[in-house]
Each structure stands twice: as C-alpha cells, then as structure tokens.
Amino acid sequence: MGKWVAGILAVLLLSVGAYAASNAAEKASRTAKPEIVIDRSKSGDKCVEETSFMRKNHMKLLMHQRDDTMHKGIRTEKHSLKNCVNCHASSKDNSVLGSDEHFCQGCHTYASVKLDCWECHASKPKQSASAPVAHPVPAPATQVGADRK
C-alpha cells in the first residue's frame, strides 16, 4: 500500500515539475519585447520628456500638438511629430517604420496598437540623417501642453 502511495506521489510531483518547466520556457519565448536601437549621436541623451512619461503619454502630447498646429498655426517643435521622427529615425534607413526594430513600429507591434500617423505623415526626416538635430532640453513639468505659454 505504502509503495503505491509513494509511486503516485512521485508521478504527481514529476508531472507538476514538468509543467512548471514548460511554462517557464513558454514565457521566455512569448512575445519578445522589441529591441529598439536609438542612435544617441543623433538624438542626444534625453527625450523631450521623461521616458516613462513618454511611454504612457506620447499620444496625448501628439494629439494636443496636432490640433494646435492644424487650427492655430502653433508650430513649436518640442512635441511635434516631426521632432519625434528627427530623433528616432533608424540610423540604418532613416525611418521610424519598416521592421519591428524601428522605433514606432516596434513598440506598436508589441502593444498591438494600430499606427495610422504614417498614412499621411512622412516617416523620414526632411534633412539628411547625418545632420544633427537640435534637441530641446526636457522641462521639469510633464503636464500636457506645458510648453505652451
């Protein structure tokens, strides 16, 4: 009897162990985070806002700037889409699109969020990639539209 119980326990333990191992392996292989290379020589050290803030709120800044530029002619560079592209275009092909290594496409594929800016907007900067871009120093305030007077 004791033999039987020990045998069943051993089988159970083994199967649980195997399950845990396979789960870990699956986790590791699941949806790799995008590997995005930012060319620091082009973009400088910092984004226009803190990285954590930008990850969550870049769309709000862009939406705000978009309406200001379109309707009021406010063309401050800091939160403009053009400014994003100028810094974040890949140093390989000068674009923010093309593969999952590219800045915009990489994250949006990972997050599964449709990206439709580029149906109209240019995904490449206007000037040649070698030309350094003036990058504004991030302001301490992170409120949306804080750059406006």
């Binding site: 200001d68 379109m70 401050t76 560079e77 007077k149």
Partner: protein, 253 residues
Amino acid sequence: MNDNQPSHHSSNEVDEHRRHFIGASAALAGLTVAPGVVVYGLAHAKPDSEPVTNKVRWGLLVDATQCAEGCTDCVTACHTENAIQTGALETDPHWIRKVELKDMRTGRSQSLPVMCQHCEDAPCVDVCPTGASFKRADGIVLVDRHTCIGCRYCVMACPYKARSFIHETLTDQNPDVPRGKGCVESCTMCVHRVDRDQQPACVEACSQAGHNAIIFGDLNNPNSDIAKRVAGHPTSQLRADLALNPGVRYEGL
C-alpha cells in the same frame, strides 16, 4: 465687381491678452530706425508658440497681365513643395492650375493661375459635415485630414473646382505637408511656409521667373504691397456674384 475692402472676420475668437502679447512682440520684432520710430514692416514674425490671429488676412493678388502664356512655373513649384505627383491619372490632384482664356471676338487671350480662393465665407466650410474643412483665423482655408471622412461634399460645393480627392496611397510626403489617401485637399497657401514668414512656393517661383504675377501678403495691413495694389488698382474676384469675398484677387481680367 471690384472689391477693395480688406476683409473682416467676425467669427474668430480674439483673446485680448494675446493681442497685447503679440503687440509687444511685434514692437520687439520691429526695426528701430530712430528713437521712438519703429518700422513695423518686419513685424509679421509670429512666435511659434502663438496662435494665428484675425488681425492678419493672408491673400494673393494675381496680375493676369504679367502671367505668361505657357509658363507653368507656379504649378511646378506647388507640386515640388507639396510633393504632389501628377501625370499618371485623370484623378490626380491639382492645387493650382493654369487657365487660358480667349475672347473669341477680339482674339485676345489671357493666362492665369487658379487655386483655392481662400474665401471668407467658404462654401466648402459651410457644407463640411465633420468640421474638417475650416478657415484659420488668418483667412487660410484648410482641410483637417484628421477629421476628413472623404465625403467630397466640399468638392461639389466649391465654385472654383479647387479641391481634389486623393484616391491612391501616397508615399514620400514632405514632412511639412502631410497628405494621404481618402482625404480631400486643396491649396494651403503654403501655410507651413507662411507660418515661417516665407512666401508660398508659387509666388516665389513666379518672382524667380521674373513675372511677378502673383503677390502674397496681408490684405488687412494697409502698408503691405498687396493691400496697396488692391487699394490703388482695379481688381476683381472670380465669381464675385457669389459674394464669398475670396482672399485671392485678380488684376487685369
């Protein structure tokens, strides 16, 4: 026929504080020739962070007597500036086109460019169901592609045939001029250049070609070249009977 009145906008909000601010910056931007004497000719420069105001009304004056037959420099410049590819399809967009007029009795012929007339009371703005077609405070009529649903009601409403619909997927846009499939578009008076104190591409090209047939400027500023010309010469509006008060005037028609 002639309308030399500078336009006046009533529908746009004017913030007193902003006016004062702009007044102050204009004074700073002005050129001091002598103590207490400031030339305001340079004072158009608007800080990037300030919104456009209805103190300015941008306009164009086309001098049909100077426009050369067969010359399409303005059209080419427009296409280059705004990255418009044409020549493939009948439905290709045209923001500016050359029109040849001929009086069959006398044989006198004329050539002139026609583009969006940037009406004060624009029919395209009237009919737009989403508010995508709108007039900026400074009189420039634009399409906000973010809200345009491509219904093309404005294309039908425009008496100048100024608007085009984009049927095909576009690539290689100018970063300053976003354009794309499924939206209506028309001449923007090169708003991205105007906001940087540059002239529209067609105006620049015409002047480079030595014709100077298109003048750009502020119709509200009595000291501007365009306002002086409009005040001192007989000019006409296309389809003046519609009383749309366009920002584009024609001389010598």
